[in-house]
Amino acid sequence: MYLNQFLLLSAVLFAIGVYGVLARRNGVLVLMSIELILNAVNINLVAFAAFRESIPGEVFALFVIAVAAAEVGVGLAMILLLYRNRRNIDLTEIDLMKG
């Protein structure tokens, strides 16, 4: 097995994720794309850990999973609130932070 294969997979996942984040207008889909990005990172971490036989990478991956779970929780809550208030979860229409 080669490390390249894992890295390639992770790169593809990451690229899909980035595409999703930038291109999709639906909030839920954007959140899912973020999950993709995080998981791409996780693959990287685990792959390197396995090849170098060191533990920290795997520990980090666990952390990331935990944080990702929290993030999705908060994110979904926000989208839910948005939907309640606006009946719409199109991110392009939300620009309250406009300077």
Binding site: V18, V21, L22, V30, L91, T92, I94, D95, L96, M97, K98, G99
Partner: protein, 763 residues
């Protein structure tokens, strides 16, 4: 304890004798009580005056009266001290600076030798009494405040307290019922306190403080009726003109402070008058420093003592109440400049080389002033302005005398002038009190019948001022003329240098003075009454002070009968000189002029000439013309001049200005100097006065310009521009803040990509 006592302990120690002692009687050492009394009464009147039965006047009179009694006692103590005191003399240890000794001021050394016997026929040397406390310390050096009591200060104490007391009494009647009666007396008290502090000043800093304080009292009293703008304008003018001179005082005092410090060990400067004079007398200071200091101090003298060309404030100062004019603007404050020269005579004597020249700055300023003042006195129709210009002229006389080295004569003239000029001013106030005007031409005339006391005292004062024997003015004026040393041709010698020009100036002024006072007396007291209302003599509170001053105007001259005046025993000669002129280390060695009978006779004839000319014009010609016209005239209707056609003359009679011109043409025919006065007055009003106004205007304009153009436009503009730039830059940047999450993310990824690229390229 002041710094020089620390330096010098006793006579046994080698050093330069200072001519001062810390001993002496209690009264002399504690002369500071005299100014303290009126200072306390100032506070008392200010805080409680309105609640007192006499509105505070009684407090002022009591304090000044007590000060007067103390001043008299101090004077008596001084007589005893001068003749009998043999205490320890303070000596000044000077830094052994080789330059000075070696550079061989041979003439100075000779002077110093002469110094050692200190005997100008006055017996043993006089030791001034000095008593000081620390005022403030800086750089580890204590700077003191205290008293320096010698003949000069004792004489001034007497004059100031006496005239102040009389003016206080006079004022209770004159300004009675005024709405600021209480404040008036408060300021009279403050003035007395400041002036008395000035005359006993131990050091130049104290002198400067008192100098400014009398200035502010003068400001407040000139502007006493400040509701009218001309009065407050006059007050402002007085204060500002004096400030210009004070600039000179600040600089002069500073130069002296450090120059003296550079030759003393253990200190970096000294304000002490005695030390400064002593160091100057002994040639320890560079001539340049002394010259610059003396010139700067002269500027202060010119403003305070109304010397040409800073004199213009003094006539305007007549806007104040008349007793104030008598006290401040004739008898006491305006002589502060003269007093300062007399006090720091060592500095001036060395700095201006009075001892060895025939012309110097001081003598010239005095000479010009005395002529300008006397000639301007002719053109006035306001009686107080006549006296104001006369004061300027007489102050010029004193400065001239100091400039030629006739110290005692100058101080003696200060003494006599105080009495007769105060008498004249208070007399003019008495007249004005009756007619409610100061205009001699339109509101006075023939007052002698209604006001006999005022008339008589005014005549006495006028004769004294004109300088006819045996009244006070004659003796002092004559000593000054002798002191110029310009009479050498006809016997009588001495003085410092031969100031012939000054003698001529003095002679001319004597004639002019006699003539303008004759004119003033005629216009006020002779002819027919031209004003309105019924005349009456003033009350006793006005008349009694007048008679006291007139009494002094008669006898004051006898205090200093010249040496060799055979009609009296020797012990009556030069008493004033003996007690007032210091014979001490802090006073320069000056040569004394010998009086001359021939000079006295000639000067008297000149005065009589002036009187006769004016008498002939007014008492004969104008009087006759008045009779012919059937009403009281103030000058000839057609005059002796026949050059002008009659019609033109009538037209000009209506023209006020030319009316005056015609008067002078008439007087010239009588042998006096009309055109000079006219030119001088024009110059005075238009050039000098105009310059003051112009400078003020220009300052405001340039202030306006600087403020509008530079401050608001450039300096402030730069600040505003930088503010605007940063705000505009912010405006551009905010466009990036779209508020859309995805555009932020795009930027984020783009930036990350770029950074990653850089990382790859570099690593």
């Amino acid at each position: 304890m002041t710094e020089f006592f620390i330096i010098a302990e006793s006579a046994s120690q080698s050093g330069i004798p200072l001519g001062i002692t810390s001993g002496g009687s209690w009264l002399l050492r504690n002369a500071w009580i005299i100014p303290l009394l009126p200072a306390l009464s100032f506070l008392g009147i200010l805080f409680f005056g309105k609640r007192m039965p006499k509105k505070g006047a009684e407090l002022g009179i009591t304090a000044v009266g007590a000060a007067f009694v103390l001043a008299v006692l101090t004077g008596i103590a001084w007589f005893d001290h001068r003749d009998n005191y043999h205490g320890e003399e303070a000596h000044l240890a000077v830094a052994a600076s080789e330059h000075h000794a070696e550079e061989g001021h041979s003439d100075h050394e000779k002077e110093h030798d002469e110094h050692s016997d200190y005997d100008h026929g006055h017996g043993h040397s006089s030791l001034a009494v000095s008593n000081t406390v620390t005022w403030f310390q800086t750089n580890g050096v204590d700077l003191s405040v205290g008293v320096l009591v010698d003949g000069l200060s004792v004489m001034m104490l007497f004059v100031v307290t006496l005239i102040s007391l009389l003016v206080h009494i006079y004022s209770t009647d004159y300004v009675g019922g005024d709405r600021r009666y209480t404040h008036y007396f408060a300021f009279l008290s403050l003035f007395s306190a400041s002036m008395l502090t000035l005359v006993i000043s131990e050091n130049t800093l104290q002198l400067l403080v008192a100098w400014e304080l009398v200035g502010v009292c003068s400001f407040a009293l000139i502007g006493h009726w400040w509701e009218e703008k001309p009065n407050s304008d006059a007050a402002l003018k007085a204060f500002l003109t004096n400030r210009v001179g004070d600039m000179g005082l600040l600089v002069g005092v500073t130069i002296l402070f450090f120059s003296v410090g550079s030759v003393l060990p253990d200190t970096f400067g000294s304000f002490s008058i005695a030390v400064t004079n002593t160091v100057a007398n002994n040639g320890l200071l560079s001539h340049t420093a002394l010259l610059v200091a003396a010139a700067c101090l002269m500027a202060a003298v010119m403003s305070k003592s109304g010397q040409f060309f800073l004199h213009t404030w003094l006539p305007d100062a007549m806007a104040g109440p008349t007793p104030v004019s008598a006290l401040i603007h004739a008898a006491t404050m305006v002589v502060a400049g003269v007093f300062m020269i007399a006090r720091l005579y060592g500095v001036f004597f060395e700095g201006l080389s009075i001892g060895g020249s025939s012309i110097n700055l001081m003598a010239l300023v005095g000479g010009i002033t005395t002529l300008v003042g006397a000639s301007l006195a002719f053109v006035q129709r306001d009686i107080k302005k006549v006296l104001a210009y006369s004061t300027i002229s007489q102050l010029g006389y004193m400065v001239l005398a100091l400039g030629v080295g006739a110290w005692t004569a100058a101080v003696f003239h200060l003494f006599t002038h105080a009495f007769f000029k105060a008498c004249l001013f208070l007399g003019s106030g008495s007249v004005a009190h009756a007619v409610h005007s100061f205009d001699m031409k339109s509101d006075m005339g023939g007052m002698r019948k209604a006001m006999p006391h005022t008339y008589r005292t005014f005549i006495i004062g006028s004769i004294a001022l004109a300088g006819l024997p045996p009244l006070a003015g004659f003796w002092s004026k004559d000593e000054i003329l002798a002191g110029t040393g310009g009479w050498g041709l006809f016997g009588g010698t001495g003085g410092n240098g031969a100031y012939t020009l000054m003698l001529v100036m003095g002679m001319i002024t004597a004639a002019l003075t006699a003539a303008y006072m004759t004119r003033c007396v005629y216009l006020t007291f002779f002819g027919e009454f031209r004003g309105h209302g019924d005349l009456h003599e003033s009350g006793p509170r006005i008349v009694v002070p007048l008679w006291i001053l007139a009494g002094f105007a008669v006898i004051a001259g006898l205090f200093n009968l010249p040496k060799g005046f055979q009609l009296v025993p020797d012990s009556f000669q030069e008493r004033f000189g003996h007690y007032v002129e210091p014979v001490a280390g802090y006073f320069p060695t000056i040569a004394h002029a010998t009086p001359s009978w021939s000079l006295a006779i000639v000067s008297t004839l000149i005065v009589l000439g002036g009187v006769t000319a004016a008498w002939w014009y007014y008492f004969v010609k104008v009087e006759a013309a008045s009779k012919a016209a059937g009403k009281s005239l103030t000058e000839l209707p057609n005059g002796p001049t026949t050059v002008y056609p009659l019609a033109k003359l009538i037209h000009n009679l209506l023209d006020k200005k030319y009316y005056l011109d015609h008067l002078y043409t008439g007087i010239i025919a009588g042998g006096t100097k009309g055109p000079l006065a006219r030119v001088a007055y024009r110059f005075n009003q238009q050039v000098i006065d105009g310059t003051v106004d112009r400078v003020g205007e220009t300052a405001v304009k340039s202030g306006q310009f600087v403020y509008d153009k530079i401050d608001q436009l450039v300096v402030d503009g730069a600040v505003n521009t930088s503010g605007r730039l940063s705000s505009e830059a912010g405006g551009e940047l905010r466009k990036v803040q779209s508020g859309k999450v995805q555009s932020y993310a795009a930027i984020l990824f783009a930036a990350a990509t770029v950074l990653a690229g850089i990382l790859i390229v570099i690593v």
